[in-house]
């Protein structure tokens, strides 16, 4: 299959860039009543270091399902997911949780912030989960400063102590992005991050996200319905009925 787009100068030289994420033969099915509904029919996908990949496809094609399998959130029926050389679904549960915590950043369509925490606390949540009480308390000041700096860069300097309910949709998504980036993971998975925002806000938020991706040289998969957004990515992979039909 021919990639649809190869506009970025970074990926044009066929340099043997390190493979960050490699998925092979992913299948996934759901049981609905008596019937077994296969959603993914053996998906292969590779993502290189610093690569920005757009995952497109009609609704129900299985994009989110694939993303959850890749992010070690949803166990595939068959197939392997290798993240930085570690086979994510073959290691023990605790190790997998650690990989999710440190190596993968998630950005969801519906933000998914904890309503009881302030913006800053939400951003620090991955560190709270990943670090022991002692370590976190010892670095508390450092954490607060780093979290605040990140929020500031996302234009939320005045919103640190706001609860999610006190923030607009665009602001919430920016907090969620700061949270996903806080531990500086090598892989970022974004599932329609602008799907719930109006086009102007969405464009601004996406611009911020892509800028971070470039700055940090993140490997990123961006699920989107928007043709224009997909055009901005180095590589576009399109899915249909649980199969990759273009760009793989």
């Amino acid at each position: 299959m021919e990639p649809r787009s190869r506009t970025s100068p970074r990926s044009s030289p066929p340099a043997p860039a390190e493979v960050v994420l490699a998925a092979r033969g992913i299948t996934k099915s759901y049981e609905i009543g008596e019937r077994r509904l296969e959603i993914l029919h053996g998906v292969d996908l590779e993502l290189h270091a610093g690569e920005l990949l757009a995952l497109v496809g009609s609704s129900g094609a299985g994009k989110s399902t694939l993303l959850h399998c890749l992010g070690l959130l949803d166990r595939p029926d068959r197939g392997t997911v290798e993240l930085l050389g570690v086979s994510g679904w073959d290691v023990p549960l605790v190790e997998r949780a650690r990989v999710r915590n440190a190596q993968v950043g998630f950005v969801f369509q519906f933000y998914h912030l904890l309503p009881e925490l302030t913006a800053l606390e939400n951003v620090l949540l991955p560190a709270m989960i990943g670090e022991s009480r002692l370590t976190f308390t010892g670095k508390k000041k450092e954490h607060r400063e780093r979290g605040a700096a990140l929020l500031e860069r996302f234009g939320l300097a005045e919103r640190m102590t706001h609860r999610p309910s006190q923030l607009s949709g665009g602001e919430r998504q920016r907090v969620a992005m700061a949270r996903a980036l806080y531990l500086d993971p090598p892989l970022l998975l974004a599932d329609e991050p602008t799907g719930n925002l109006d086009s102007a806000t969405g464009a601004a938020v996406l611009e911020l996200l892509l800028e971070e991706q470039r700055r940090r040289r993140l490997s990123m998969i961006l699920v989107t319905h928007d043709e224009k957004i997909a055009q901005k990515c180095e590589r576009v992979v399109s899915m249909k009925d649980g199969r990759i039909v273009g760009g793989g």
Binding site: S64, H68, G71, L73, D74, L93, V94, A97, R98, V99, R100, N101, A102, F106, F108, F110, H112, L113, L114, P115, E116, L117, L125, P126, M128, I129, G130, E131, S132, R133, T135, F136, T137, R179
Partner: protein, 488 residues
């Protein structure tokens, strides 16, 4: 780190959790309060059951032979043996004999006694002869003062006799605050010193009479009292009726109904004389330095030792001394068993309060887990393990138990210590008598706070809270994170 932080945040941001905390608080507080009052009542009842018994009672079978010799009718040797034991604080002989009040000179009173249908016991009295070594007692401070004035020191030597052995005579010393015994006699050091005005050739011996008996018979101090009894006369080989007049020198009150209504104290030698010297003592009363610690052991030791020295019978056909050397608890075994039963039953019933509090926590946490599905999914996506999520919810119960338990313990303990004042205040404010002091024998609501119990109850609250939280926490850990993440 996130577990304690988040659980606390969930707790404070959710007013419903207050219900769980309150449940624990009320449970712990009520348990401590009720158990303290219950313990107070039980201890008070224990005291009532004990009545005027001393720690250990030695009751040799006089006249029987033991270890090749006859058990003496004199208590001297037995007293020496008992006092030699270092666990003994005091030991004294007493002579107790049944008698009747036969007021033949005062027909009016005698008729009143005979006509009393309500209390057939009124006529009978337990006449108890005791040793009151007032002279020695009096000498003690005098010697001490003399020694001090000469720059020396006179150690207070315990006078080991009835004065120390039974609570009654402690009160004669007047240095035992809160002691329920009170004695109204002109001279507490010599309570039986008869008044000179008695006038006859041989001054009549003085007696102290129980307050209730004294009041019901409408007696006066200084009045004569005629007592009658029967004693065995070996010379005639028959029972003999004895009568003698005494002088009432004062009254006493123990708050033990039976005692106050039917006991008369007098000097042991006087009573022995009245009984025709057939008996000089019936029991030896022993007071231990630390009854709780030594009581049981001491009793066993004495059964053996006194039997070896031929001071008690203790043979095969005499129950190995079990009838002769007894702790007061063995004396009143049945009643104490009933009280202990009551306490255990009460404890079991009260534990249900904690179970109810546990159910509250269970309900609230179950609600919370359902409500927090999405959070569980988010935490899971951010790297939390199922075990971590389980601990997060268990921790909420932990905080419930900690806050509720500590507050409950403080409030319960305070309430138990101040229950009397609280009840008075409530009665005054609402005008209803909650605790009718006339119904009980106590003039206050008794309550005893036992730190061990408080600790156990708080611990119980923790166990209960965590146990009931285990199910919702386990459910939270098993939630499918995706279920929560996929949709808004």
């Amino acid at each position: 780190m996130y577990r304690s932080f988040l659980s606390w945040r969930y707790l404070v941001s959710r007013p419903t959790n207050l219900i769980g905390i309150c449940g624990i608080l009320v449970g712990v507080g009520a348990l401590i309060l009720i158990l303290s009052i219950m313990t107070g009542f039980l201890e008070e009842s224990r005291r009532t059951v004990r009545g005027t018994l001393s720690d250990v009672i030695v009751n040799p079978l006089q006249g029987e032979s033991a270890n090749g010799r006859t058990i003496s009718a004199h208590p001297g040797e037995l007293l020496t043996a008992l006092r030699a034991d270092e666990r003994v604080a005091a030991a004294t002989a007493q002579l107790a004999w049944a008698g009747v009040i036969t007021q033949r000179d005062d027909p009016e009173m005698f008729q009143r006694i005979l006509a009393d249908q309500n209390n057939s016991q009124l006529l009978g009295a337990q006449i108890v002869g005791i040793d009151v070594r007032g002279l020695e007692r009096l000498a003690q401070p005098a010697f001490a003062a003399l020694a001090r004035s000469m720059g020396g020191f006179w150690p207070a030597q315990p006078i080991q006799d009835e004065l120390d052995a039974s609570a009654f005579l402690y009160s004669l010393q007047g240095d035992e605050p809160g002691e329920p015994w009170t004695v109204a006699a002109p001279n507490p050091l010599f309570p039986f010193a008869s008044l000179k005005s008695a006038g006859s050739a041989r001054p009549k011996a003085g007696v102290l009479i129980g307050e209730q008996l004294f009041n019901q018979l409408r007696m006066r101090v200084g009045q004569e009292l005629e007592l009658g009894t029967v004693v065995w006369d070996p010379a005639r080989d028959d029972w003999q009726m004895n009568n003698r007049k005494f002088v009432i020198t004062g009254t006493f009150r123990t708050r033990d109904n039976e005692t106050d209504n039917g006991r008369i104290y007098l000097d042991r030698r006087e009573l022995a004389d009245f009984l025709g010297q057939s008996r000089r003592y019936t029991q030896v009363l022993v007071s231990l330095k630390d009854y709780e610690r030594d009581g049981a052991r001491f009793t066993l030791d004495m059964r053996k030792e006194l039997a070896e020295r031929g001071l008690i019978a203790a043979g095969e056909d005499h129950f190995g001394g079990r009838q002769e050397v007894r702790t007061w608890e063995e004396f009143r075994g049945n009643l104490l068993g009933a009280i202990e039963n009551e306490r255990v039953l009460m404890g079991i019933m009260l534990s249900l309060v904690l179970v109810v509090a546990g159910f509250t926590i269970f309900a609230i946490l179950s609600m919370m887990v359902t409500e927090k599905r999405r959070d569980v999914g988010i935490l899971s996506a951010l790297g939390a393990t199922p075990r971590g999520i389980q601990q997060l919810f268990l921790m909420i119960a932990f905080w419930d138990a900690l806050v509720g338990g500590v507050l409950g313990a403080v409030i319960g303990t305070w309430g138990a210590l101040e229950i009397d004042a609280i009840e008075r205040w409530l009665s005054r404010t609402f005008g209803v008598q909650i605790f009718d002091r006339k119904v009980y024998l106590f003039d206050h609501i008794p309550s005893v706070v036992q730190p061990l119990w408080v600790g156990t109850i708080v611990l119980g609250a923790f166990v209960c809270a965590l146990l009931f939280a285990a199910i919702p926490a386990w459910r939270a850990a098993r939630l499918d994170p995706l279920e929560a993440l996929r949709y808004e």
